[in-house]
Subunit: 536 residues, 2 copies
Amino acid sequence: MRGTMQDWPLLCPKILDHAARLHPHRTILSRSVEGPLHTTTWAEVHSRARRVAKRLARDRIGFGDRVATLAWNTWRHLEVWYGLLGLGAIYHTVNPRLFHEQIAWIINDAEDRLLFVDLTFLPIVEILADKLPTIERIVVLTDGAHLPETRLTNVVAYEDWLAEADDDFAWATFDETTAAGLCYTSGTTGHPKGVLYSHRSNVLHAWQAATVDMFGCSSRDVVMPVVPMFHANCWSLAFTAPLVGAALVMPGAKLDGASIHEMLEVGRVTLTAAVPTVWLMLLRHMEAKGLGLSHLKRVVIGGAACPRAITEAFETTYDVRVAHAWGMTETSPLGTVCGPKPETADLDLAGRLDLQIKQGVPPFGVEMKITDDEGRERPRDGRAFGRLKVRGPAVTGAYFKGAGAECFDADGFFDTGDVATIDANGYMQITDRAKDVVKSGGEWISTIDLENLAIAHPDVQEAAVIGVPHPKWDERPLLIVVVKDGRSPTKDDILGFFEGKIAKWWMPDDVVFVDEIPHTATGKIQKTVLRERYAK
Amino acid sequence: MRGTMQDWPLLCPKILDHAARLHPHRTILSRSVEGPLHTTTWAEVHSRARRVAKRLARDRIGFGDRVATLAWNTWRHLEVWYGLLGLGAIYHTVNPRLFHEQIAWIINDAEDRLLFVDLTFLPIVEILADKLPTIERIVVLTDGAHLPETRLTNVVAYEDWLAEADDDFAWATFDETTAAGLCYTSGTTGHPKGVLYSHRSNVLHAWQAATVDMFGCSSRDVVMPVVPMFHANCWSLAFTAPLVGAALVMPGAKLDGASIHEMLEVGRVTLTAAVPTVWLMLLRHMEAKGLGLSHLKRVVIGGAACPRAITEAFETTYDVRVAHAWGMTETSPLGTVCGPKPETADLDLAGRLDLQIKQGVPPFGVEMKITDDEGRERPRDGRAFGRLKVRGPAVTGAYFKGAGAECFDADGFFDTGDVATIDANGYMQITDRAKDVVKSGGEWISTIDLENLAIAHPDVQEAAVIGVPHPKWDERPLLIVVVKDGRSPTKDDILGFFEGKIAKWWMPDDVVFVDEIPHTATGKIQKTVLRERYAK
Ligand SMILES: Nc1ncnc2c1ncn2[C@@H]1O[C@H](COP(=O)(O)O)[C@@H](O)[C@H]1O
């Protein structure tokens, strides 16, 4: 028997309708790519997004079409998203930090028809244009006056293009499972794989994100996503902010400490989110200049493990609450946020900082488990490691064009490729990547834990641990170390430092001293190369 | 093009799974109908709800079957809900305050197969049993020791019945639009009409309710729904609390001031919700005994307009934030909550109390408009009245068995039967019921406003305003007054009191003094009777 409730599909443009109707004058402050600060409102974004949709329709962009953006967080990028969404077309956010060949590859894989590009990234497009046969037109996110000379043909300034349409446009309606956005994982091996968010998943994820133990933002918040819109939906903030009627601050192209600090202060930001490196830059800048934070209440830190020192600085020096978060492109991305539960709300500072090393607790709508290689669930005792698997309405169930089918369980769980523990209070902690963890005698050893310990040694500059084949134990850990200039510790110095700090069987079998550890373009250690070199 | 996101239907039992997994030890404290306080946890409720489902299946209750409950808010009622939900069966909460004939009528209309009943209501069932042909079995929500003598056959104590099943049971899976719960409107005219909530609408509504500007509760809250589960899903709190991992306090059968105060204090309740009369009883009790509130932070008041005096007492004497809320059975029920927006956050106390008279702002997922009788939208200026119409995924689109089709617009909006204003900041205020508003020369006059003004007159005990036919203006207001003992104001005394306080054309054409104003069983003024008597 069916309920009598209304059929009201969960479509992203309804979020913007809501913000424009109930919070019309709430501002969106951006640092424009051209330079000056720019202010608009939800009512204006709503009007201009409808113009975008109408104008796109004139370019014969419609339902199911993919359109690429190579752009920073600004009001224009936001308008383009919602304009596309209002047609049932798909925003494909391209990460401009990828290698050029990868950018071309994913635009071609997506078969994007238009490309919206910020001035900053026009040079990349000039280099790649000949390799992008599906792109019919390039819209530069600026006005006519700022459009530079370019060898590209078929280029138009966004404001000129937009001036050709008014806002008398009604959003298209369609099934809520319709694709809304496309984002490729940065995948360290093989080609990038696309995740196609649906209208439904974006809306449900925005509701999840809005709950108190996640972002917990309201109409009285000013939210600044420093995390880019091209990084997994800027963690849903382009949806969650209008859903709750919050004001937005968009940092544009400048993510250095001084620029971020300026936006936090000028914009009176109360909630912000980004990866740890951004916060490191901000903290260094504030320390150097003796600055404080007048409005900020809460900072969400994710995308990589958040060092204790960053958390401590925010919590103690600046009186800002830190929410460590975990997620990935495949999970929309929010999977967990680390905040106080009644069981942990009364910890002292040291206890709180220990807790905040963990990635946190999933909201309703994210089912989470850890399993061994055979798929058997591992205990939730805070010690046992397992492959982290997730399920939910905002978790992908496949990749675009059927890639990566091996990541999905028979029971519908997505294997994240992360290895984690879950403690009795439900806090998840990432301990390794599945492909890096060392499997010794059936038990798992965290390479991240060993690396963190190694770099705590006063003579160690950088460290990496890999598993090397072993006749009896299958694998044993090998520690690879770059020593600090002028230091020359022995193997025994290093391993002696580990004693008493880890289980005996975690002790690396050997230490190799090297001059340099190889890295990827995004700064991650290339363990594949290390294994090639040292694990044979 | 479809997104690649997982197909994860929004089913209510998943909310309980979440609470049991992430918040297993969080408590549910109830005042049992037998008397003593009783404590359980989400993990135990989860286990016992699965036993309920398994046991129900043995009684051959399954998908689509309706099962009635005549019960207070207790852990057992909660277990029965989730047990039914886990089978795809439908909890039908019957309001025990209805007239006996109405109770029989709706149980027959629903074709309920079982009846779960609290000890308190067993006498009603004894009276009605012969008129309930579809009821196969009566389960009394108690243990064997407390089961009283009864002339009813086929009666079993819940705990005995439940003991016949273990918890090795997997929830059924089905489409999320499947009916989950059934609740009849108390409808003043004609038969009650049923609203069939779906799993989807309950889950989406719980997410809406959880947002900061609505209930804004978290895992650190202790939530007490005083509003009964038979009153429109106890305003979603039986879903919202486990969704966010909050603890629950269930007040059972005792809603008097002393009992509620005890539960607030003993249970360390931080958030609670009920109709104004409950809070009036609590405030009187606390004042009489000189008591305070040690833990309560926020009280949600709805179901009827909240008098300013109640709000003021909570805000000033007890330092508790008041959230005035509006909703109805047909809207799951939350439609609006009145809280601070940036535009109103800095009001002084008087301004805040004025604001809190309003019913508030809808969350994302509730579309709201006011229209004239022809369906044209009226201005959002805080002055223009209109019929209040709503649309959304947790708003009903029809009534059970096709009743009341006239309440639904061509564009899918539900006509609430309320008349309201919406101000420039989006705050809605109920000004009248559509059937009561006086339509004078094409403009609408609020009978509620006039009545409130009349009872402010020192000589007036009670007042009612009705429209009487008028040859030129269609209708004109007539004021009907009961004067206080020993007072004898003239018509001019009364009307003189209105002068300068209302627009001239709102002035009642006449005043009728009466000894008594007729009321319904639930205490509402019977305007139909007044119209019969005075508007001819
Ligand atoms: N808070 C965190 N701590 C540790 N690793 C993280 C965290 N957040 C994200 N990651 C890593 O980043 C991956 C997702 O990358 P991406 O899809 O590019 O966002 C995850 O699978 C994790 O390995």
